[in-house]
């Protein structure tokens, strides 16, 4: 079987993975710029405007600055784990993109190139698996710092992430009952076009409650406001990355933005048709052009969700920790279970 993989496929996957990783990092970089610009607009300021026209080179300057900063490893910390923490955070952030279908297949000189790194049977569970490992980066980094603020922030973050993971897992069950597949590729293909048989094809219109729960959980999983209690500066200095400097700090911050990008892409894929867009069958374009437009459509949807993340951050104040846990456990989990049972009953009732 290994011979069947062949060098051609290896090269193809290598290029595809490089592009996916590069785009994830690029989008994450420019998300930091976008965040500052969105904040500026909301607060009636100008935002970064010195590096290049409209401050467009600001993320590069920030990145270069982080590289040339002194690397500080506190003397009381556990050295190996201190380095491992941010590395794990970044590694898990980089892995989720593997199962997302970024587009339909491209036809290049007789070859069909699918724009998805790995179409696995259990795509959604793979994402959950990687997300559940994201806790380690934070916890290990926080513990290794040997700092009270870091440890409190890390434990808070870990508790929050595992709590919202439950509601996140439950919110998707109702959707999966309707799709009958865990492969993200299948789920996107079922949402082909926009309107069919007198109803929308996108899953959002069949599972609005599931989407809302998923959205809230995505905010909490990414440690974004209003759920950024792990790093709330008025209580915990900087939370789990208090002791970090140079690119290790950069990795923690960067991983948050990569996670934000990936979770936006997952939301667009699961609920908003992924690379499908309205009138895609009526444009009369060749398959390759439809594929390219589909990729653009996915990125537009993803961009909207990234904007939503930022919009919420600069609009809604932070929760208190007991409120956060109460929302996750006592509201979202029962709501997701109820949504699941009602969806199941309704789907069976109307099919018979």
């Amino acid at each position: 079987m290994i011979l069947q993989i062949g060098t051609y496929l290896l090269v193809e996957k290598f290029i595809l993975i490089s592009i996916v990783l590069a785009i994830s990092l690029l989008v994450a970089m420019y998300s930091t710029y976008a965040e500052r610009k969105v904040a500026a607009v909301i607060q009636d300021r100008r935002g970064p405007n010195r590096a290049g026209p409209f401050g467009i080179l600001q993320p590069l300057a920030d990145g270069a600055k982080l590289f040339f900063k002194e690397e500080i490893i506190p003397s009381h910390s556990t050295r190996f784990l201190f380095i491992l923490g941010p590395s794990l955070a970044m590694l898990t952030a980089c892995m989720t993109g593997a199962v997302i279908p970024w587009g339909d297949s491209l036809h290049l000189g007789g070859h069909v190139v699918p724009l998805q790194v790995a179409d696995v049977n259990i795509g959604i569970l793979f994402i959950f698996g990687v997300v559940s490992l994201g806790v380690y980066g934070i916890m290990i980094g926080a513990w290794a710092s040997n700092n009270k603020f870091s440890l409190l922030g890390g434990i808070r973050a870990a508790s929050q992430i595992i709590s919202y993971e439950l509601a996140m897992g439950l919110s998707l069950i109702a959707l999966l009952m309707l799709t009958g597949s865990l492969s993200l590729n299948d789920i996107v293909r079922q949402q082909h076009g926009f309107w069919k048989n007198g109803y929308f094809t996108w899953n959002f219109f069949r599972q609005p409650i599931g989407f809302l729960i998923f959205l809230v959980c995505a905010f909490a999983e990414c440690n974004r406001t209003p759920f950024d209690l792990a790093e709330c500066e008025n209580e915990l200095v900087n939370g789990y990355h208090t002791e970090y400097s140079s690119m290790k700090l950069g990795f923690y911050l960067f991983a948050e933005y990569v996670n934000m990008f990936i979770s936006s892409a997952v939301m667009a894929t699961l609920f908003f048709g992924g690379f499908n867009f309205p009138f895609m069958d009526h444009l009369g374009l060749s398959a390759n052009w439809i594929t390219i437009l589909g990729v653009v459509a996915l990125f537009v949807k993803t961009g909207f969700f990234i904007f939503l993340f930022m919009w919420v951050r600069w609009t809604i104040p932070r929760f208190r920790y007991d409120q956060l846990m109460k929302l996750g456990w006592k509201m979202l989990i029962p709501l997701a279970l109820l949504n699941m049972v009602v969806t199941g009953g309704a789907a069976l009732f109307f099919n018979h």
Binding site: M1, Q4, I5, K13, F14, I17, S18, L21, F67, F68, I73, P74, S75, H76, S87, M90, L91, C94, M95, A98, V112, P114, V117, D119, V120, N121, S145, N146, N147, K148, F149, L151, L152, I155, A158, S159, I162, E165, L166, I173, M177, G180, L182, N185, T242, E243, S246, M247, G250, F251, M325, K330, P334, L337, M340, V341, G345, A347, L348, N351
Partner: protein, 131 residues
């Protein structure tokens, strides 16, 4: 072409996980490379006061590795239990249409037990963060 469609439509053979391993290797190389680069690029001026832990300028008291509130621990235990239950829903969701009403009632019974445990936890105040 042939080989390709085989690998792709697979999804059901171990081969379809090969690109994930490839991505893992590439991500490892990237993360490791950046870590080494930042180690080499930055200046190094060490000092015993500088490498102290940050405590907002106050003299550090003892060690950070101290026992914490039991609530975090309880949350983690309950998370493990609920996580396993949530995982059980996935094989059901995939077979939802085939299993029909019979499967639905089986699942409702399971959810009822789930809710029973859930209400017990709520009533006992295990998830209350303010005493």
């Amino acid at each position: 072409m042939l080989l390709h469609s085989y690998v792709l439509e697979a999804g059901t053979t171990p081969i379809s996980y090969f690109p994930i391993v490839l991505q893992l290797i590439m991500a490892l190389v990237f993360v490791g490379g950046v870590m080494i680069a930042t180690h080499l690029l930055g200046p190094k001026r060490k000092g015993s006061d500088k490498l102290e832990n940050f405590e907002c300028g106050i003299q550090s008291q003892g060690n950070a590795r101290q026992p914490m509130a039991i609530n975090y621990f309880l949350t983690a235990i309950l998370f493990v239990l609920f996580d396993v239950e949530v995982i059980f829903f996935y094989p059901y969701a995939v077979n939802f249409k085939i299993l029909g009403w019979a499967g639905f009632w089986e699942m409702v019974l399971f959810v009822a037990f789930f809710f029973a445990g859930f209400f017990y936890i709520i009533r006992k105040g295990a998830l209350n963060w303010r005493d």
